[in-house]
Amino acid sequence: MDTDDRELLSASVAAAIDPAAPSSINDAALDALGWGDMLAAEPIDAVGVVFGRLGAAAATADVLDDVVGCALGADAGAALVHPAWGRASPVGRDDSGLIGVAGQRIHEADVVHVVCADGLATVPADRLVADPPTGDTRWSPVRVDGDLTAADLTPVDGDVLSAAVTAARHALAHQLHGLAAGMLGLARQHAVDRVQFGRPIGSFQAVRHKLAETHVAIEGAAAALGAADDDPTPLTVDLARVVAGRAAADAGRHCQQVLAGIGFTRDHDFHRYLFAVIELDGLYGTTGLITQDLGRQLIAAGVVPRAVDL
């Protein structure tokens, strides 16, 4: 995809987000843009644009199912149960060969595919139980009622499974970056508009420096994402995911402080962004867990790789 194609797609995705209900994008509108074909043909570009836009609007869609499903060879449009919130990777079978699955469901369907360590388990949706009964989140924690056995599994190669985890983290990194940029946009506008002591609060250095700090974090994430898009290895993607996760956390902290009282309400859009950052951080590994895992890899190998070079 060249720059023009990416910009065109980006604008189309933005247009598919309903300003009246920005928290969820219309999946049919994405399909109409040829999302499924793009995901199969040019996954890196397509994922970057779509998830970046979703983040910037604090919107959700079922598209993470498509990204992981596509990587695992599931049918287009398949509904997945992802690894449980906070888990870095899917669960495997225990000593007795059983899989006690608890996971995250994003969209409803009659049949779901549970992402397990050895493959995909196909399960009728009526075997899923909400666990715990869902509260005020867009993610539905579920578990499979009863245990799964090998017979329920369509085996998937270990390499394919780790590629799917990497694909998920790549998508989430773009979404977290988009969320950080979206928050900075809101806080910057507030700093320009909001007058106290007879001047815009954006004229105070303390406020300016918080926004500048956020900008630096976002630019770092954008550069790390660029490197991951150019050469999407598990290392570059995990690094981009961690840098984007930190940028989103920094943006949440600084922008909320700048937005102050209004940012603490549900009248202002900011809360949607903060919720999304907090919730997304637990899919396919938290920023903290992936960071620790990267450190462990370095210490074990005794080497700091040049993840990017001139």
Partner: protein
């Protein structure tokens, strides 16, 4: 200089040749001291390494032929510095001074002046310093007061500079002087390349926190500088000072990432494996990665001929953040070697930990960078 092929190598070709050469000459080029070495030893080693690289033909890549170089994009210089710094052959900040001093002369001095002096700097024959800051002029560079008065074909300089790194080792100094009225600010500044052995010029070294005499005060008492040593137009010195920035923030910063890479490598080599240290190492690695990705983009934009502007303040903040993070982690994992060094290696950690505190101060403080980002990149208007 070595043989001069018709066209410059690619980055990959240069790296392959250079790595092979560095491996073949490892014993010859290694520092003769253990640990960090004294400042004088570091200077001798710096000039020796530059000389060897120059003689082997590597030091000329990325510099224009008019100034004694061999041509090619600046990224070639970034690679040479990276390999030399990552192997711990030189102090990265000292090696990178060439990156800011030489381009200034090439772009602003007369072609004769540049052709005469730049090769001396590149080849390790000479060391130069940068006389910008003054006791009353830190972040506010346009307030400088060290005065140059015209006197026929020469200038008479009186005043004082401070924080002029390595002045006692320098043959020459790129000096900013006040030639306009005191109120003329950035419009009344003129730059010169002054010989450090000129009568009336006195250097008093200043100890930095780690104990090294890296800084100096320089006093000017009726110091005579020929007009032929003027760099840029009369009252055009601000442009000279600002022209340093794209070089500092592309090639020199890439060199710095190599230094940080090698020090994080040293941290990792003896880091314990428990969760806490893995988390710290991971955080430092992620910070360094964000910096390297940004810096790589900047070097590439520079080589494409794009103008580097206020967006490089982001790189500057990332360098400072990554450097301080890496040495914070180094200290957190082995606090004793910083607190109570027992050998030259510990002393190096202590020195570098202390030096890293200055990463958010020199070259424009972190606050100045954030001011630039807020005004120029976020368009927040006036304070």
């Amino acid at each position: 200089m070595g043989t001069s092929p018709a066209s410059p190598p690619s980055i990959g070709e240069l790296r392959t040749d250079l790595v092979a050469w560095l491996d073949a000459h490892a014993d010859e080029i290694a520092p003769p001291y253990e640990g960090a070495g004294s400042l004088a030893e570091q200077m001798t080693q710096l000039n020796r390494v530059k000389r060897l690289l120059w003689d082997a033909g590597f030091m000329g890549w990325g510099w224009p032929e008019s100034a004694g170089g061999r041509g090619g994009p600046a990224a070639l210089r970034a690679v040479v510095g990276e390999e030399v710094v990552e192997r711990d052959l030189v102090v990265s900040g000292f090696f990178s001074m060439t990156e800011t001093l030489a381009p200034t002369l090439i772009d602003f001095a007369s072609p004769e002046l540049a052709a005469e002096f730049v090769p001396r700097l590149l080849s390790g024959q000479e060391m130069w310093s940068q006389g910008f800051s003054e006791p009353g002029t830190g972040s506010d560079l346009a307030s400088l007061a060290c005065r140059a008065r015209p006197d026929g074909e020469q200038w008479i300089v009186n005043g004082q500079k401070v924080w002029t790194s390595l002045s006692q080792f320098a043959e020459r100094c790129l000096l900013l002087t006040r030639t306009g009225t005191p109120e003329s600010r950035h419009r009344g500044i003129t730059a010169f390349l002054v010989d450090m052995n000129t009568p009336g010029l006195t250097v008093r070294p200043l100890s930095i926190m780690s104990g090294s005499d890296e800084f100096a005060e320089v006093f000017f008492d009726d110091v005579v500088i020929p007009d032929a040593r003027r760099v840029g137009a009369v009252d055009g010195g601000w442009a000279v000072a600002m022209a340093l920035l794209p070089f500092e923030r592309s090639t020199a910063f890439w060199h710095r990432t190599a230094f940080l890479q090698s020090r994080l490598q040293a941290v990792v080599a003896d880091a314990p494996t428990e969760d806490h240290s893995a988390a710290l190492v991971g955080e430092a690695f992620a910070q360094l990665h964000a910096l390297r990705c940004c810096s790589r983009n900047t070097v590439r934009r520079f080589d494409r001929g794009e103008t580097l502007g206020p967006e490089t303040s982001v790189d500057k903040v990332l360098v400072a953040t990554a450097e301080q993070k890496i040495f914070d982690v180094a200290r957190a994992l082995a606090p004793r070697r910083v607190a109570l060094p027992e050998n030259v290696h510990d002393e190096r950690w202590r020195d570098e930990f202390l030096y890293s505190r200055a990463a958010s101060i020199y070259g424009g403080t972190g606050e100045i960078q954030r001011n630039i980002i807020a005004r120029r990149l976020l368009d927040l208007g006036d304070e």
